[in-house]
Symmetry: C2
Subunit: 328 residues, 2 copies
């Protein structure tokens, strides 16, 4: 019988990959693949084996970092979190920390962008299609460097809108792991776009504020307290964590009177002086509207701007937080 | 500066793919990829783009079917469930049901195995590395045909062991979707292998029996009732569902007095006459030990054997449940 679905030879597939040029692939600058054993810059080959359990089970962990002006920001913090995620999901890193760092930097160099997004994926590896991690002989590491997508200046100047999510949260255990099981986060991202707001924020089973699809939230109370949801139920964001460290100077100066993790309700946020989102790609964004409530005076506030300034300064000046892409 | 991580050309990657022969790849017989636009049989190219959100977010759904004696079993049931998973996670099928069926059968024909495993993945598609589904212009479909892995005859003859899992369950919403967010299932599978038992079974927040990593459970009470956990909190397995339909004949014959979904505790199972696991690849396996408790008389029972007989008969004789691989 004749087949309506063509069978392709190896060469035909390679030809099709070479022919396929998608506009979004222009953003992809370099990929390291342990499966290939090196770095490639042609987006056509930025692929992974379908039997890698990362693909069919989401059995992998990841980190998203950024490069700023030829420096990788907060690399050690991200690698620390990656080690935590690995431990919590029984993954082991196939490289030493020094080798991993060198591989990341080599990929960033190959990407050849002063500012970039860097994504690191640690997978269970190929070996079959069951759920068992024991059928996979070795973990794989994939690193992708792309152009950095940032919000328009208007978002910083006018603020963003937020809505409470209807998507059920992950349980505490899995919420603290940056794994590739992000379907709830994907549906929250979709929910925001469908509702015409910038972000949605999830609420845990007890009614407390949790997190955005890939962002942390924080509020400044009318009493000048900087409060964030407790990190034992959500992903410990590197940006918000660093912002809290940098905000110590604001405590010292008396601009803030208190800072900490706390169970926060949407009501707490509705009546806050300021509310903000924290994320690797955009640093800090002021929230001016949450569930239709005007936050503060409806304008971006002092602390959102100040936190961003502190972070931007940190990215350029704090030796401890930056790793030069081109070596010493 | 010299690079310790090599940069590879397109041709070098293709050469490395061709050279890389892993023993487990022998099980992979055919893959359809909408990204390639056809079917390939060379495992080296059984790959997917890393920017497909299936890879980096687990943003995809799947089904695992089997081919038995050149027939695909329960195809319509699996496609029905796939449509449900798609709806619940806002995916849309890029093909009509008829086209999808034809593509599956063509891939099975290319795999050229009388008995096989068939895995269907519907992904959000490539387009970038954010969580937003809206950056992906089109969904992709991947179908993989492999050799069928089945338990040793001893497992049927002597029974299997089961233990209560310590891994937290997914919430109800996500538990009913067959998505590629399977990290909890992966950790349950690992837990079983680490503990030296055949399977573990999860317990929901209320303390009721839920499901195995990729299997359903059922019990036969001392009163000859066939009871399974409620499907509103777990994945509705195709095998257990079909077993329940076929078991109607056992109700009619008076072998069973009742059948249904119910909140079941581990205690209920400890004191059951029989306990069994249901799954696509193995049909039905008798559980003879659960948490160290001997189930029934510690031997595989009548109903586990009978359910399997009914299912095997169904696979060979029920026109409504089988789809010939080679057409009419």
């Amino acid at each position: 019988m004749s087949e309506t679905v063509p069978t392709l030879s190896f060469d035909e597939v390679v030809d099709r990959l070479l022919q396929r040029k998608e506009p979004y692939q222009r953003n992809y600058r370099a990929m390291y693949s342990s499966w290939y054993g090196g770095i490639i810059t042609d987006p056509a080959l930025m692929m992974v084996p379908i039997d890698d359990h990362l693909v069919h089970r989401g059995d992998g962990i990841f980190e998203a970092l950024k490069g700023v002006d030829w420096r990788v920001y907060a690399l050690e913090r991200h690698l620390d979190r990656m080690e935590y995620s690995a431990k919590m999901s029984s993954h082991s890193l196939p490289l030493s920390r020094a080798e991993l760092t060198e591989t990341i930097l080599a990929t960033v160099r190959a990407g050849n962008l002063a500012d970039c997004s860097i994504r690191i994926f640690l997978s269970r590896g190929p070996g079959g299609f069951s759920a068992s991690p024991y059928e996979c002989p070795e973990s794989q590491l994939y690193i992708v460097v792309t152009t950095l997508q940032t919000p328009s200046p208007e978002k910083y100047a006018r603020g963003v809108s937020l809505r409470t999510s209807a998507i059920p949260v992950k349980n505490d255990y899995f919420a603290t792991i940056k794994s590739c099981n992000y379907l709830p986060n994907v549906l929250m991202r979709k929910e925001a776009e469908d509702a015409g707001v910038d972000f949605t924020v999830s609420i845990d089973e007890q009614g407390f504020l949790a997190e955005g699809p890939t962002e942390n939230i924080g509020i400044i109370t009318l009493n000048r307290e900087f409060l964030v949801p407790r990190f034992d139920r959500i992903l410990r964001g590197t940006t918000v964590s660093r912002a809290m460290e940098l905000a110590e100077s604001l405590l010292d100066a008396g601009d803030l009177v208190r800072m900490g993790e706390m169970d926060l309700t949407p009501e707490d946020a509705y009546h806050a002086a300021e509310m903000m989102m924290f994320g690797t790609s955009f640093d800090v964004l002021p929230v001016v509207n949450y569930d239709g409530h005007r936050i503060g005076d409806g304008q971006p506030g002092f602390f959102a701007r100040k936190f961003r300034e502190l972070l931007r300064e940190d990215m350029h000046r704090c030796d401890e937080m930056i790793t030069p892409v081109r070596g010493a």
